[in-house]
């Protein structure tokens, strides 16, 4: 009967999946949980490529131990992430968990990191509270507020008085809106309206119209990377740039991964972010060249550099700690500072979050390609939300 056959098949499948041999004591496994499929798949792709690049460049032996990289796809669905993380901790006995493309994924795994005493290195998610959820979490990516607050400062200092804020209606969008608004109004600016559009939004037309009707100096925009290009194109289509309205916002809008395809419409867009592929430093030039060579000419973006630095943190923590238990590794990670392709970075010993420079950039055409060209720097920005609470 059918059910017997399927039952047998299920048994066979389950048996075949029985986990193979145990880990050796000298092995260090890094479990990278990334969204390789689904809406966030470009994040997963960039990060996996960067992690592999780091390993290819620095070898797979650290402090006398062999390092293996395990990449798993969670599709940005938190219950998948949690299950995969549990599996990695219990069965693969990973020394590090890394990745986490969206905030709920990072948050779901926090209790596991604490219970398993496994360091959780966040290399993508950007909500401020993540690092507070477990003493084993360290972040090498960014927080949204790190970009929006300097953006507000710069805007206030440069003649932009009235702004309409437009963000996607989900937690990071709300974070961006709030942190921008608080800082901007503190520095004397005025936020005329706060518009939120649905996350799965096919058409920005009505919202852009609504914003334009209020005649602001600039529109502050935050959308998940991927929608930025469409937004800017529709902005230009409505002639809003000719009406003298600027676009400002965190650099997710002009994601390096997509910037070149956006067309000349985006030239002149000003954003604040921690990484541009155009960043003028020897470390970055080498990074970009190596990344492109290994990935068919694909340009690295801020997610890639986050994963690259995440691997660096892991390697250096292993070197410094000498031991492979979670407590020593996190202790070693705290306060670590190095020159990343994005600029100088360090891990804040109190919050375990990343401290980095934030640059104000403008989109310009260089050698026939579009780049975010940096022209102002806000050095050593800590996460403003946590810093404000600490005061």
């Amino acid at each position: 009967m059918r059910r017997w056959f399927f039952l047998g098949a299920a048994c066979a499948a389950a048996a075949a999946l029985g986990t193979a041999g145990g880990a050796q004591a000298q092995d260090v496994k890094i479990g990278f949980i990334l969204p390789m499929t689904g809406q966030q798949q470009s994040t997963g792709r960039q990060e996996a490529a960067a992690a592999k690049l780091y390993m290819a460049q620095h070898g797979d032996t650290v402090a006398g131990k062999k390092v293996t990289l395990i990449v798993k796809d969670d599709g940005a669905v938190p219950d998948n992430t949690k299950r995969i993380a549990q599996d990695l901790i219990v069965n693969d006995k990973v020394t590090f968990l890394a990745g986490f493309g969206v905030t709920p994924a990072a948050l779901a795994v926090a209790p596991l990191a604490s219970e398993g005493k496994t360091p959780e290195i966040v290399t993508a998610a950007g909500t401020s509270i993540i690092t507070e959820k477990s003493p084993y979490i360290a972040r090498t990516s960014f927080t949204l507020a790190q970009s929006t607050v300097p953006m507000a400062d710069w805007a206030a200092q440069n003649g932009i008085k009235k702004v309409v804020s437009m963000v996607s209606d989900y937690a990071p969008g709300a974070d961006a809106e709030k942190s921008f608004k608080d800082e901007f109004t503190k520095k004397g600016g005025q936020v005329l309206d706060s518009i939120r559009f649905p996350l799965a939004n096919p058409d920005f037309a009505p919202f852009l119209q609504r914003a334009a009707d209020q005649k602001p100096d600039a529109i502050f925009v935050f959308v998940p990377s991927g929608q930025g290009g469409i937004f800017v194109k529709q902005f230009v289509e409505r002639g809003l740039d000719k009406a003298g309205i600027k676009i400002i916002g965190p650099g997710d809008v002009t994601d390096d991964d997509l910037l070149n395809g956006m067309g000349d419409a985006v030239v002149g867009t000003i954003t604040a972010h921690f990484y541009s592929a155009d960043h003028d430093s020897p470390a970055n030039k080498a990074f970009v060249a190596a990344f492109k060579a290994a990935n068919n000419g694909m340009r690295p973006n801020f997610m890639a550099v986050s994963a690259y630095d995440g691997m660096h943190l892991i390697y250096e923590a292993l070197n410094k700690a000498g031991k492979t238990d979670g407590d020593s590794l996190i202790a070693a990670a705290k306060g670590m500072a190095w020159e990343s392709p994005r600029g100088p970075v360090s891990i804040d010993p109190d919050t375990r979050d990343i401290v980095q420079n934030v640059y104000i950039r403008k989109v310009e055409k260089k050698n026939g390609e579009l780049y975010n060209v940096e022209f102002a720097t806000f050095p050593n920005i800590k996460d403003p939300i946590k810093a404000a609470v600490a005061k």
Binding site: F5, L7, A9, A14, K82, G116, A171
Partner: protein
Amino acid sequence: MTANADEVALYLKRRARWSPFEIAFWIFAFATIWLFPGKYLILKDTAILALFALSLDLILGYAGIISLGQAAFFGFAGYFAGLVAKYGIINEPVIALVCSGLIAAALGFVTSFLVLRGSDLTRLMVTLGVSLMLGELANRYSNITGGADGLQGVEIEPVLGRFRFDLFGHNGYVYCLIVLFICFVIARRIIYSPFGLSLRSIKGNTLRAAAIGVPVKWRLVAIYTVSAGLAGIAGALLTQTTAFCSLDVFSLERSADLLLVLIIGGTGYLYGGLIGAVIYKFLQDWLANLTPQYWQFWIGLVLVVIVLIGRERMAGWVRIVRSLLVRLGTWLMPRLPALGGAAPDGR
């Protein structure tokens, strides 16, 4: 006409007897607790998916209502279970589970009128629309639900005061498996009852069923409510065992995956959801391990091939395998005592 009633009762009693396959299935299911200690997590997820699929089978396989909206009840009860645990309103997980199921059933009752009319496509879209709207609501009220970040701070007390859900997932899995079994028995009882028979008649020919006096509308409402309750229990299980709940419980992907699971396993015989869940989950896990980025391609290929080969041909293969095994069994049986050392009679 008592003679007919007796016949029906006899028929039902016979059908309702547990066949050896079913007993073997459940023995094996419970044996997995000891057989696969490293796989608790995926087994637990499979058990939850199986319960979820069972709920859809009740309305799809037995009442003919095609729905993409089971995620509405799944998510609604999931958030309910998370919120009552977070704010300490109900601390004992089992009580919270039952309450979540009841709440989901209530929601099912309220929305059941939407699925009474219209074609398959209408029902599909209306149920999906409800599910997505609930997702939007959950996003809107992110101060309660945590929005896109997910529900934070959920702490689940140990079940019955003793069994804590730990990192290894053992207690979580046993909990889910027991709940799955209980719900299965309930569903089975419903199916093998006059009520269940009337459902099948409704699915077969609604007009004729109404003509012989079956209160079609109320039966459909009733089974939809029960199905919503089971889906809700599945959702609450997920929240309780992962101590987390986020917006994707309402997503299209969840409902669509469910439909796929049930179609793979087959509708209308209660085990379809369970078997489909096992196959789908394990297949997906295996493929995702092989190729984290492109596993969707291979799953798609498997689905296409399943449909192209067709169920009749696969059932044909099963019959061949089964007859071979039966023949092996009859050949082996007399020889078993010999294998054990005792001489067979007369030889």
